[in-house]
């Protein structure tokens, strides 16, 4: 589904990703762990097409297409979704209106008919129920005035509506207390399916207690230095990143 080969990327003049390889198959959940400054968020951003990064080498193919050539919206149309570490507030933009515009843009790009207001509302109610969310969420401006936990839940809610093929969760656990973390993790688990792959980008093993990954990769200094099963995360928890020679960046 996703194939990253020798990916190199800069922020300004600084090389952050230094030849990164990653293969993700359909329905798999991969955790990417690593110390601060290792390039975890850069990877998430480069995959989603955020400005400010220059790819200097390597390739990324998603569903057989060259991902790096595409605009962010075209990547979303293909089925890519980024749950932001810091979800952006959009004052004045209603959550329902926003999600309907997003879903219909994706459906249109795929040649599917757009959903009318009634069907869309039904879909939203259904997903709210699955995720145990309050429907006051629908009337509010996107993320505006939301608490940290509400913002993360809104990301998962968007993911539930847009039904991506590959979801990248960028430090979704950061800033959450244990209850909020459990709610978010339950949401992600509810959306796991043989058709949907997930990349969990995280600093801590904690999230992986709630969302069990199939694979764990350790990213350090812009490269994946170790890959393994979920036990690798426990080992890291025990021994720290230093164990792999992946010290915190200065």
């Amino acid at each position: 589904m996703l194939s990253v080969k020798g990916l190199k990327a800069n922020v300004g003049d600084k090389e952050i990703l230094k030849g990164l390889d990653l293969e993700i198959g359909r329905g798999e959940v991969h955790a990417i762990m690593g110390p601060n400054g290792s390039g975890k968020s850069t990877l998430a951003h480069v995959l989603s097409g955020r400005e400010g990064y220059t790819v200097t080498g390597g390739s990324v193919t998603f569903e057989g297409q060259d991902l790096l050539d595409l605009e962010p919206e075209a990547r979303a149309h293909l089925g890519l979704f980024l749950a932001f570490q810091y979800p952006v507030e959009l004052p004045g933009v209603n959550n329902t209106y926003f999600l309907k515009a997003a879903l219909n843009a994706i459906r249109k790009a795929r040649g599917e008919p757009e959903l009318d207001a009634v069907s869309f509302l039904r879909l939203m109610k259904e997903k709210l129920k699955v995720l145990h969310l309050d429907d006051s969420l629908l009337k509010r401006p996107v993320n505006f005035g939301f608490s940290g936990g509400e913002k993360k839940r809104n990301e998962i809610f968007q993911m539930a509506i847009l039904e991506p093929k590959l979801a990248i969760l960028d430090e979704t656990d950061s800033g959450l207390d244990i209850d909020a973390l459990r709610i978010v993790a339950d949401g992600v688990n509810a959306l796991r399916s043989p058709e949907r792959s997930v990349i969990l980008v995280t600093h801590y093993q904690r999230l992986l207690d709630y969302i069990q990954p199939d694979y764990v990769h350790v990213l350090a200094k812009g490269q994946i230095i170790r890959s393994g099963g979920k036990d690798l995360a426990l080992e890291l928890e025990d021994k720290g990143y230093g164990w792999l020679g992946a010290e915190e960046a200065a």
Partner: protein, 440 residues
Amino acid sequence: MKATPGNGFAPWLADDGPAADTGLAWLDSRRAQARAQVRDQGIPTTKQEAWRYTSLTRLLEQGFTPTAKATTPLEPRDLEPLLVPGLEAYRVVLVNGRFAPGLSDLQHLPAGLRVGGLAQILKSDPDALKDRLNGVAGETQPLFAALNTAGLDDGVVVLLERGAQVERPIELIHLSVGMDEPRVAQPRHIVALEAGAQASLIERYLSLGEALYCTNSVLELSLGRDAVLKHQRIQTESANAFHIAGLYLSLGAGSRYQCINVGLGASWARTDLNVRFTGEHAECDLQGLYLAGDRQLMDFHLDVDHRLPNCSSRENFKGILYGKGRAVFDGRVYVAKDAQRTDAAMSNRNLLLSEGAEVDTKPQLEINADDVKCSHGTTVGQIEPEQLFYLRSRGISAPLARRMLCLGFAGEILDCLTPEALRDQVAEQVGSRLEQAPID
């Protein structure tokens, strides 16, 4: 230096001109006085503070002629597509500045409400207007108000008696229709709510076609003690029009006034809002939204005069500019020495969507009292790249994402509009304007 305005307004300035003899001595003398003022003042230049950012050259180069009495015969079905869907209102319509009874809907006015054409009332019941015409605007007037006084042809009169509460909005439609040559319409509107009266007024400036014309309107409004008025002003003139509006407001003790200004149309638009409190504990809330694109100027001047204690005012204007659009916001809040416990907050925020767009914003607080709560703020910014990326990462195209963010920015003002049908219509107009905007 003394000068006469360009030939556009010359016909009204001759002492033997068409407007000189109305048959009412008091009106003739006010007109003569206004003509003298225009001649004495001359044309303001950009050296004068009130016109620093807005040049009158293009306006005064035009060869306007007065609106003829006979206008294009319009039928109610011509008006139909311009109406707010489902809006039930007492409707008074002017075509090219002249009251059009055939298009108006003034049947079954409730007790205590009088709505009619100014020219008609000047004929049938001039005493009802004698103290009101210039009653709020005063005898000494700036250029365009004086020109309006010198040349006023018609307008709308709304009088609401003591304690009368009108549920349905009163809708004032000023419709312009292209003529064979550019015309000037100078309507004078008089709105007066006596003590305890409550109403809602929707004032719309529209056009059929994209003709070049000029509207120079003056609205004098007075609220008696504890009167309440919601006033919504929607300006969607032709893209080639000149639009001038002077509002003179007198707010009595305990009265509450809200004015929502939406400026979308015209090639050159200037609005002056002059607020004077005439009693304590009055509240004034001025909201505004303007869009300016290529070859478009939107100029809002606010002058809020806190002369008495214990009054509050809000001034909240937002602008979206694109292409080579230009806007001016000049807001002045004056607090007199004795106006203690004044509560005033002014804000002007602008979103610039292109390199070529420009806004000159000048909020001013002039405070002479020591026990007041006053603030002002102004911002000029662009669409946040973070917000744009967030929307695009959800599959929304860049142009739609920009439009959504602009509408979100405008939403705070749009959401003040009532009923919902009016809000939706204006939001759609804003949306379609943004759709045509060449956003870099």
